[in-house]
Symmetry: C2
Subunit: 326 residues, 2 copies
DNA sequence: CTGAAAGCGCTTACAG
DNA sequence: CTGAAAGCGCTTACAG
């Protein structure tokens, strides 16, 4: 009932081999190609991709495993990855782990069973550290989170530098009791924390660090208790857009005036950050560039599996707004 | 070099048929199953899904085609769909059309080539109206946008009712020059427009309707020119979260005070809508419920392709905030 | 419960 | 340029 390549061949009066060549890039005479095209249209033939993949031993597929698809950072990266993939004639399988190591394992296994050409992966810190170079049976590029040095290709932000820029700015604005709230699951959050701590030390200030799960709800709860303490910070550095949102909610819940009572500075230039009052100071990440570079590294790794490991570090762009008195 | 089912069979001292049965639900003795499990672990075997799909003639895959993955409405729906799918042992292929009919055609074709079990689809109005019941070679459930009555299963919001509730509320708050800005590509936007117009007529007020592409940039530009006109509205109904954001930006750009100079009421209870000042009155959509119902309809349609067409209509929940003087 | 054999729908050497 | 034939890695009647 469903039409196969044999039906097309019969309708065109040629062999299945010729149909296959006409559909692909094989050498076929103009006359036969026209017959095949007509037969394809007449029969409504659609090639079976499972059969094609099995036979040709190439899936033309890349996997993209992100930590949180609701996070606009990953939405932006995934669009760039998809654009690059479709431009190269590949499709992408998108998976979302919710920062859960069990789901990471599950999806890594799925990628293997799908026989993907390669994977772009934003791993939790736990998984990044557990994974040796030989543990992944396909070329892999880490994004947003690099893992231990030298093991995997990666595209990341200069996290320490970006954190330091925020601290320098806050100090210049006159703040000194500057706290830092960072995600607990990613190496990126850790780098941002370390960059914050180094900058604080450079200014001769005490680092005040806390960790939360990187979502708005957890961040709000963490800030509500922290900001109720007598020794509360007069400024906060927040390690991503979700945590920044939670902090902003907490400040509002406690009726703290921003930036007078509390300054806020974070990551990710999400659309809402300049919609609130005051606008929020953030480091904008080059999401499209991150996705595009990741695909480039992946393709080059697929083409030459034995080349040395590469790490691309991109700079963030600080945007100073009212939340830090700018 | 890559290990196949024959290698596992050899290692376990059984036939490939037994390995296949042990991995699936076939009848196998406990002893042999244990041998197979050990051999799978020893060899690191991963089944080839392309081969499995080709041979078993079932892909265990559903397609999800959304109009804009950056829109939190679709992100929310897709999470619900994925949860339901994985719970049923199926995977999902997610595609994003950007409201572009050419990409809709492309992805519909991809779904066919992937031999998906079924598709959940948020079509543009143009595509929904062009598609007869026989034009889709797989079971399909429309979400967010129903298309012409009686042709396809669908899960939608009571759009007209929700629009009317916003108009009634604005009238009760004392507004009368109430304009409506609606997306130009979806049947949903059209229903919201019609519900708005009917409610305005019921109140004896003139409807003032404009259309834009459903993204924040286009909406902001449209509002900037509209609100600069002498006969400008004193309140706006906006047909989705992106358009609402554009309108809010325009009001700020023109230094209009909300709700004194201009009231705003829209759709989609996105996290930022209660973060801005004043908070924005919106109709919250039951995104998780929409996704779950769509999967339910799809599974039932797959199980019984000849059952009558069904349409599930869900109610929105109005949330009144400061942007309408509430 | 188990194995030998056929075959899912394609692509690709191999001959011509 | 074209066709006949083999085979990708599985699953599933068919016998036993």
């Amino acid at each position: 009932m469903t039409v196969g390549i044999r039906d097309v061949a019969r309708a065109a009066g040629v062999s299945t081999a010729t149909v296959s060549r006409a559909l692909g890039k094989g050498p076929v005479s103009e006359a036969l190609r026209a017959q095949v095209d007509a037969a394809v249209r007449a029969t409504g033939y659609r090639p079976n991709l499972s059969a094609r993949r099995l036979r040709s031993q190439t899936t033309q597929t890349v996997g993209l495993i992100v930590a949180d698809i609701r996070n606009p950072f990953f939405t932006g990266v995934s669009r760039a990855v998809e654009d690059a993939a479709y431009g190269a004639g590949m499709r992408v399988i998108l998976c979302n782990t919710d920062e859960d190591t069990a789901r990471e394992t599950l999806y890594l296994r799925l990628m293997e069973e799908e026989r993907v050409s390669g994977v772009i992966f934003a791993p939790t810190r736990a998984t990044a550290e557990a994974l040796g170079p030989g543990d992944l049976p396909f070329p892999t590029v880490f994004i947003d989170r690099a893992g231990p040095p030298g093991l995997h290709d990666s595209v990341v932000l200069d996290n320490a530098g970006a954190s330091a820029a925020l601290v320098d700015h806050l100090v210049a604005q006159g703040y000194s009791r500057i706290g830092g709230l960072f995600g607990s699951t990613s190496s990126t959050a850790r780098e941002r924390r370390d960059g914050y701590a180094a900058a604080m030390a450079r200014h001769g200030l005490d680092a005040r660090v806390r960790a939360v799960l990187p979502n708005a709800e957890a961040a709000e709860a963490g800030c509500l208790s922290w900001l109720a303490e007598p020794e509360r910070p007069d400024a906060l550095v927040l390690s991503n857009g979700q945590i920044l949102m939670g902090a902003f909610r907490a400040a509002r819940g406690l009726s703290l005036r921003v930036p007078t009572d509390l300054a806020l500075a974070g990551f990710d230039n999400e659309p809402w950050t300049d919609l609130v009052d005051p606008g929020l100071t953030v480091v904008a990440q080059p999401v499209a560039e991150i996705g595009a570079q990741a695909m480039r590294l992946l393709f080059e790794r697929i083409a030459d599996p034995d080349q040395p490991v590469r790490k691309v570090t991109l700079s963030g762009r600080p945007i100073f707004r009212g939340s830090t008195g700018a």
